[in-house]
């Protein structure tokens, strides 16, 4: 029971952390809270299946062998995000953070409607990697294989991202730009390269979340990105806007708190789990309004 709880907390928190990173990366370099991130996730989900209004989806890309499928979906997520930056956010680069945020809402609504027109509004059953639900014995617990894969993938992604930020040229430029974009440009750092890079990474992370959501729930729903986007946004605020480690830590914390509440709340209170969860969030923000890991340079402007 308790070991199972640890796996639940880690896998849920891990997904929240990946989603929060997708938002924090863009906020870091552009001071944009991208509310279209949830629709990026939904878009990547629907990219797996053939367009139709049927209740049971036919896999398109989703039927490919896993390595090819994953590569393609990540590329689609990254491509969509880069395209969105080029068409929507680049022309608005000098606009206020509030205008940028509103533009991201508008983009999100447009993407959602694009999906509605193409696939219809009904949630669809999608069977992606059906074998992954099988339980695997780990010490005293029976853990679904998918959960182990998710935890491993999240750990690998976080490690890879940390290495990229720490060791590569683009990583250094992204961190410098997140602290003081104007100064970075005065030193020859190309704004377009850094921002496109951040969007590409963010879009790829959205695609990772999409794959996990579909594999876990077996459903494709136009609205499915919205809920996780909300949690991810809260995680970036709790972690401290602009802090990538903060977003990861807060994502994990919220996932863990959610799993713990689910396990230990009295059964009659469980339907209201989220109210307890957000109550905790408010308590944390009352104690630390700037977030748990707010960086010195990035004040929230929204």
């Amino acid at each position: 029971m308790s070991l199972q709880l640890v796996f639940d907390a880690l896998s849920l928190g891990g997904i929240y952390a990946i989603a929060a990173l997708g938002i924090a990366l863009i906020f870091g370099v552009m001071k944009l809270v991208n509310f279209a991130h949830g629709q990026f996730i939904a878009f990547a989900v629907f990219a797996l299946i053939v367009p139709s209004a049927n209740a049971v989806a036919t896999l398109g890309i989703g039927a490919l062998p896993a390595p090819l499928l994953i590569t393609l979906v990540l590329a689609i997520g990254a491509g969509l995000a880069v395209l969105a930056e080029r068409l929507v956010f680049r022309p608005l680069r000098d606009a206020s953070p509030v205008s940028l945020m509103v533009a991201s809402f508008a983009l999100g609504v447009m993407l959602q409607n694009l999906l509605l027109v193409t696939y219809g509004g009904r949630p669809k059953a999608v069977s992606l990697w059906a074998g992954l639900g099988a339980p695997v014995p780990v010490l005293t617990a029976q853990v679904p294989l998918l959960q182990l894969i998710v935890i491993g993938a999240v750990a690998a992604i976080l490690a890879g991202l940390a290495l990229m930020l720490k060791r590569t040229r683009i990583g250094l430029e992204m961190r410098a730009a997140a602290e003081d974009f104007g100064m970075a440009r005065l030193l020859g750092v190309k704004a377009n390269v850094v921002i496109s890079g951040a969007f590409a990474l963010s879009g790829a992370l959205a695609a990772v979340v999409a794959l996990v959501l579909v594999a876990q729930t077996g459903v494709a729903d136009v609205r499915m990105g919205g809920q996780i986007m909300l949690v991810a946004f809260i995680a970036t605020v709790v972690g401290g806007m602009g802090s990538l480690p903060g977003a990861v830590a807060a994502g994990l914390l919220i996932g863990a708190a959610s799993a713990l509440l689910q396990a230990f709340l009295p059964p009659e209170a469980r339907p209201f789990r989220d109210a307890f969860l957000y109550g905790l969030v408010i308590l944390v923000l009352l104690a630390r309004p700037q977030g748990l890991f707010a960086p010195a340079g990035a004040k929230p402007r929204v």
Binding site: R175, A176, E179, G182, A184, R185, L186, L187, K190, G297
Partner: protein, 239 residues
């Protein structure tokens, strides 16, 4: 050909005129001080040269090439570097990472490593703390880091905005000593905004005196201190 040329350059913020049709040139290897009271347009001038501030009119040329209208990063990549007001160190990056941010456009990778070694030789404290977060350095050390960071881009022309701001006089002496030594060593052209014309006179070079977005005097810095021009610039014609 002059290193830097401003032709009829104007900068406006809304209805406020920050720079009113400025023209002057700076020769290769020259040291030019820009002095004047607060609000004279000194920082707007540097901003307009570096591309951070858009010119409303006129143009800036470096080596005969027009810079106006280009993005700051493009201007930086043409050999212009900036030591900004308030230093603007990347506090969360290490000292060494700060130095490397501006080297992305350089093709001479071997020379980058040499330059880094040179920085650590000239400023041993930066070498000792190369892996420490830059935000932990003292104000004077951060100023040295800001200068070194600008040099790491291998610039031909360096703009320095108020290097003495918030530093003890002794540290300011040292900052200027270093700047002048580096200039001599590398044949840099320097444009320095310095509030204190007395300081400029002591360091030596050419000086432009600004007031209300205009140049009110242009000449040898050492000659200025004694003249009434200074008083006039700061207090107006009534003085």
């Amino acid at each position: 050909m002059s290193k830097l040329g401003l032709f009829d350059l104007a900068v406006r913020y809304g209805k406020l005129t920050a720079l009113a049709n400025l023209s002057f040139t700076v020769a290769e290897g020259e040291r030019l001080f820009i002095s004047g009271p607060n609000g004279a347009g000194k920082s707007s001038l540097l901003g307009a040269i570096s591309g951070a501030v858009k010119a409303a009119h006129g143009r800036v040329e470096m080596d005969g090439e027009i810079l106006s209208g280009r993005a700051p990063e493009e201007i930086a990549r043409r050999g212009l570097s900036m030591v900004p007001e308030g230093r603007r160190i990347f506090a969360g990056l290490t000292v060494q990472e700060n130095l490397l941010v501006g080297t992305g456009q350089r093709r001479d990778r071997g020379a980058v490593a040499d330059d880094l070694a040179t920085v650590f030789d000239s400023f041993p404290i930066l070498g000792e703390r190369r892996h420490a977060p830059a935000g932990a350095l003292s104000g004077g050390q951060q100023q040295m880091l800001a200068i070194s960071r600008a040099l790491m881009t291998n610039p031909k022309l360096m703009l320095v905005d108020e290097p003495s701001l918030g530093l003890a006089p002794k540290i300011v002496d040292e900052v200027y000593e270093r700047l002048c030594a580096l200039q001599a060593l590398r044949g840099l052209t320097l444009v320095i905004v310095e509030q204190s014309s007395a300081r400029a006179a002591r360091v030596g070079g050419r000086m432009l005196l600004m007031r209300g977005g205009r140049i009110v005097a242009d000449g040898d810095a050492a000659g200025f201190a004694a003249q009434d021009l200074l008083t006039e610039a700061y207090f107006g014609d009534a003085a």
